[in-house]
């Protein structure tokens, strides 16, 4: 019995080792969020093995620096991070402990996706924590503009080609295909949103600045009084008055926030409360970057129609 168990363990180990060896053939990419993983997959195809640390339904500001993540980072050839201090609370200690020289900041195996993206909300005046949990380097939710998705894909393509030059043509072809599908998607989404340009909405957190700019939406307020500060009754009252004054009928909430206050706002103002996805993987059926916008735009358009136009 014992011998058989031993044999089983040996086989399991051998299989695991073989699996590891096979994974080695591809470029091993770890991303901080599922959006980045989706884009890496678009460009890298089957020449990369990619996994994300955070899940799409998780608040990317508050991910725990679990040792299981250290294991994944220790094997990575490339780490793609959102940057702009989104992961400041959890990625640096993981990187230090990863024992992986390849992916340390500054190296070829570390890609900060924000470096080539269009970044909004960069504070111009002095920044203090009296403003809440502000991001002094600008809004890190920049992937919610498809044009930034394209820029990230370009950066990923360039970096993958550097790491695996033999596959450069493959990555270029994959990028061209993604670029084409994304452009078609952009036309589709823009067309769907065309009748609602200048739509006024309220969002929970400041996650939708890039999305709003891309699709002609006007964010007039936030459920949070300040970034990272939970809703207060006084702020909620002021917000409701403002919503009534401006006729705002849409409230966008990220899936990881408590919907209690937004729902109360919806009841008081007659606005539709939408759980929009800020990330791939926020719900099971949203598996890639293009589906993310399909899902969000469909949801938004349906809600606008339901709430009676703008």
């Amino acid at each position: 019995m014992k011998a058989r168990q031993g044999l089983r363990v040996t086989i399991a180990c051998a299989v695991a080792l073989l699996g590891a060896a096979r994974a080695d053939a591809a470029v091993n990419v770890v991303t901080s969020t599922q959006d980045l993983a989706a884009i890496v997959k678009e460009v890298g195809g089957d020449k990369v093995a990619v996994e994300s640390l955070a899940r799409g339904y998780q608040d990317p500001h508050f991910v725990e620096a679990k040792p299981s993540f250290i294991l994944r980072l220790s094997r990575a050839d490339l780490l793609v991070a959102v940057g702009r201090e989104l992961e400041i609370g959890w990625l640096p200690p993981l990187l230090t402990q990863s024992r992986n020289a390849r992916i340390q900041p500054g190296g070829r195996g570390y890609l900060d996706a924000s470096q080539t993206a269009e970044i909004l909300d960069i504070p111009t005046g002095p920044v203090t924590r009296a403003m809440g949990d502000v991001h002094p380097q600008g809004n890190p939710h920049f992937w919610l503009d498809p044009r930034n998705g394209r820029r990230i894909a370009q950066a990923v393509q360039a970096r993958l080609s550097e790491i695996s030059p033999a596959d450069a043509a493959y990555f270029a072809a994959r990028y061209a295909d993604f670029d084409k599908r994304l452009a078609a998607g952009e036309q589709r989404w823009k067309a769907a949103m065309a009748p609602y340009q200048g739509l006024k909405v309220v969002t929970y957190h400041r996650s939708w600045t890039n999305f709003a700019k891309a699709f002609g939406i006007d964010v007039i307020g936030f459920v949070e009084p300040k970034p990272g500060i939970p809703p207060s009754p006084a702020h909620t009252l002021r917000l409701e008055e403002e919503m009534k004054r401006q006729g705002v009928k849409i409230v966008l909430v990220e899936p990881y926030f408590d919907a209690k206050t937004p729902k109360a706002i919806g009841r008081d103002t007659g606005a539709e409360v939408l759980v929009m996805l800020p990330s791939v993987g926020g719900v099971n059926e949203v598996k890639d970057y293009i589906q993310l916008f399909d899902y969000d735009i469909n949801l938004l358009v349906a809600a606008i129609r339901k709430s009676g136009g703008r």
Partner: protein
């Protein structure tokens, strides 16, 4: 900004070397060779050789200067470009237009991502001026204030009614591509001390991670945590009784750890050696270093639940005699629960540590045991409730046992401040009981790095 500065920093020493060479060479040429009278021809030949060398060096210097000048100009141009977003490449819906040159759009825009330093400010900084440069390379600085209050009676270890217990200043930065450094200076009523100050070598071969400096020793869990990261106002009794005071094991030394690859769990082995003067240890001789070994296993049970187990051993000389030793053995277990979808609202952390101390004295060994078990539950976005049970014998006299429960309530106005109240009832070995209410205000300013898990 970073690439510019890096090149600049490299340029300066290389220029300096060339300059020194260039300056030294003519000096050498002017000093006459050692036997000046007997071999003037020889001297002339040597002189010519030196002159040639100088000319060559000058030429080389010019070349280097030119090449760096060009590179600097290119980098400056790039910097200008990075402050604007990468322009969109042509993406007409017509198929097959954006084609095969890898990274063509990027290179054309001249914005291949510059290597970022972790603390780098990504908003474009004004170029030029030493002050701007020094700001960029400044370490992340933060101060954590830990203010304590106490009410009630405690005849055994009375704490002041109100005390600015500690101000911890942290200075953290990446040293070079191979290492980072972290300093934690603790200012307290007892004075200023280096709580921790160490270099972490992040790029060692063989999957090794090494730390050198003053460290909190990897003995169990609570010993590795800074005061402001504890889930209580005070440290558990076992730390005071067996690890030699609230500071615990904290010493100058070297720590090396390695992951042990296996398909089942995260397994980390750590070996450390210290000066041997922390906690219960008192080195009398240079060779009286203390040794520590730790094995830690971790596994995700579900995506929101995980189990963390560890065993630690350390030994060193104590103060009982010329060659007496103390050995400490500990095991720790932690269960964490934090549902990913509600990470800001709910979490639970349950932890227990058991420690055994064997203190050698000249005529006998004193064996003592201590433990604590603690649970902390977040029941609202800003509220945590907790409890802890302590029980510990004393390392020097195991016939005395201190024990008692604590109940805690913590309020978080934001991530950067918290208020905590703790009711503590302690029954000391001397048959004295104390009932106390402890209060704590914790507040943090600046950029404090994330904590290890």
């Amino acid at each position: 900004m970073a690439p510019f500065s890096v090149v600049n920093a490299r340029l300066i020493p290389s220029c300096a070397v060339v300059l020194v060479l260039a300056a030294a060479a003519p000096l050498g040429a002017q000093t006459p060779p050692v036997p000046p009278v007997s071999a003037p021809q020889q001297a002339a030949a040597a002189d010519a050789a030196v002159r040639e060398e100088v000319a060559r060096l000058r030429e080389e210097f010019e070349r280097i200067r030119e090449s760096y000048g060009a590179r600097l100009a290119a980098l400056e141009a790039r910097l200008g470009a990075t402050s604007e977003p990468a322009p969109m490449p042509a993406t007409p819906p017509a198929p097959g237009v954006s084609t095969a040159t890898p990274g063509a759009g990027l290179d054309a825009a001249g914005t291949s991502p510059p290597a970022p330093a972790v603390s780098e400010s990504a908003t474009p900084m004004p170029t030029g001026g030493a002050s701007a440069l020094s700001k960029i390379f400044n370490p992340d600085i933060a101060v954590v204030g830990n203010f304590l209050g106490a009410a009630g009676r405690n005849a055994v270890e009375p704490a002041p009614a109100l005390e600015m217990h500690e101000a911890e200043v942290s200075l953290q930065a990446i040293v070079d591509p191979y290492a980072r450094a972290d300093f934690f200076l603790a200012a307290s009523p007892e004075g200023l001390e280096i709580e921790e100050g160490f270099l972490t070598l992040t790029s060692l071969p063989g999957g090794l991670l090494a730390k050198v400096g003053k460290l909190k020793q990897q003995f169990g869990k609570v010993n590795t945590l800074h005061a402001h990261a504890l889930p209580w106002v005070d440290a558990p009794l076992v730390v005071k009784n067996l690890l030699g005071g609230e500071e615990g094991l904290n010493d100058s030394g070297v720590s090396v750890s390695r992951l042990i690859p296996n398909p089942l769990v995260f397994l980390e082995a750590t070996g450390e050696v210290y000066q041997g003067t922390a906690g219960p240890f008192q080195a009398q001789d240079r060779s009286d270093v203390s040794w520590l070994g730790r094995l830690r296993g971790y596994r995700d049970l579900t995506e929101g639940t995980n189990l963390d187990l560890g065993a630690s051993f350390t030994r060193g000389h104590n103060d009982a005699g010329p060659s007496t030793r103390t050995r400490l053995f500990g095991i720790d277990a932690t269960v964490r629960y934090r549902p990913l979808r509600r990470a800001s609202y709910r979490r639970f952390l349950g932890r227990t540590e058991l420690m055994w101390s064997r203190r050698g004295e000249s005529d006998r060994d004193v064996s003592a045991f201590g433990m604590y078990a603690s649970g902390e539950y977040q029941f609202a976005r800003r509220w945590f409730g907790g409890l802890r049970y302590d029980r510990s014998q004393r390392a020097q006299d195991s016939s005395l046992t201190d024990s008692g429960p604590s109940f805690l309530l913590t309020y978080w106005p934001s991530e950067f401040s918290q208020m905590r109240a703790q009711y503590r009832r302690t029954r000391y070995g001397e048959q004295v009981t104390s009932n106390e209410l402890l209060f704590q205000f914790l507040f943090s300013i600046g950029a404090h790095g994330g904590h290890t898990f």
